[in-house]
Symmetry: C2
Amino acid sequence: MSKQASEVAQGLAKQKGRTLSAIVELQIEQDIIDGLYRPGDRLDEEELAERLSTSRTPIREALRKLAAIDLVTIQPRSGARVSRPNMAQIIELFEVISALEGFAAKLAATRATDEQLAAIIAAHDTCEELAVSGDAKAYFDANGVFHRAIWTAANNLMLIDQITAVDKRLAPYRRQITFHPGRKQDSQSEHAQIARALAERQPEIAEKAMQEHVMILSDDALQLARDLRL
Amino acid sequence: MSKQASEVAQGLAKQKGRTLSAIVELQIEQDIIDGLYRPGDRLDEEELAERLSTSRTPIREALRKLAAIDLVTIQPRSGARVSRPNMAQIIELFEVISALEGFAAKLAATRATDEQLAAIIAAHDTCEELAVSGDAKAYFDANGVFHRAIWTAANNLMLIDQITAVDKRLAPYRRQITFHPGRKQDSQSEHAQIARALAERQPEIAEKAMQEHVMILSDDALQLARDLRL
DNA sequence: TTTGTATCTCTTGTATACTAGAGCTACAGA
DNA sequence: TCTGTAGCTCTAGTATACAAGAGATACAAA
């Protein structure tokens, strides 16, 4: 885990106007989302401090912030670990995000500007191409763009914050899902249904379609979590 | 602001198994929710440290955590203030919480145990009594109990976390709403509608009723925010 | 009077030193 | 061998010292 991260860390040019604490926070968060640190991994303060060439103070502040959004779990006098939700909690998180993303789709159906709608369609088209030709990683990224385009079209920044927060916690599990064979095709037809509902400005249909789309991911994620012996 | 808080702070018996940092966090959070610190108020580290009889370190960690959940806003090298969402953001937050609480009601309609349903009805009855006889503060608290009973009946802990997080941010605005004359009666009939839908196990109706109930609060909160010249 | 700038102050950001509790280790007794 | 406990070690929690940037202040020039 240390080699690659270390190099990334060295590349951290001291950014202006940002505190070390904030830079460290972003770095650790990204490492967790990227899977460099996996759920359950210990996050030793001194080790991190050395790796990121700072004192423990900014590390501690960063860990506290990550703990506040539940990406990290701190046991008093024992230390920080990457949070490892159990199966029940993963299901619950997917339920929450399905509700939030469903709501986003519902709002988007009535509020999306023409440009925002166009962006959604464009993202959908990209997914379509990559579903056939591209590699799994590319499709995963394109999928993210599609979803975020819908969040944006809801025109509610607080909602985006909220979805993003939950999304981060699910990242370690959600990441691998689209790699499953056959899933891409299914996902595409679901996306198509959602995109159509949005284009036709049908809030209820868009909401329901999105909710179901997300909950199907939940099943896959659970399978994955099971494979990882959670 | 300092007098009352100071006394509260002195009352902080050093709790076992809890870090100072955690105690301080809870204290500041409660002070914000209680309205002791109002949106926009400056949170001076040294002043807080003296008030709570600690060094700056636990204060800083607490403030960082509160900033992570957006209850506090930190401007680098300038300090922390109680977050002050603008009107648009308040509306957005109410939209988000209406979606989440609506979802909770929907889940509760199918998942609530008999005991949980009984608790909801009981809370509703308490509200009913207080709407007629009690003071505003008592009604506000009972209202909270009613809502939380529904969150609980959704049987999804992550959802509760999420709702709670948003609820905290709205606390300064939501707090005064039930004080408005006449609102209590309206609120009660809405509660009755929700309770009935839950008892009859009708998810869609419960969801819609809850969503509307919350969005009506939004209007009141906005009026309040306007009065406070936000 | 106003505006620009230099300096100074005051708070925050970071590092380091010190304290203390959790959990491991090793040894003694059953 | 197993179990309980003493103590030891190692990391986290807290305090304090030091650095640095933002914003205030005061003065000079237009």
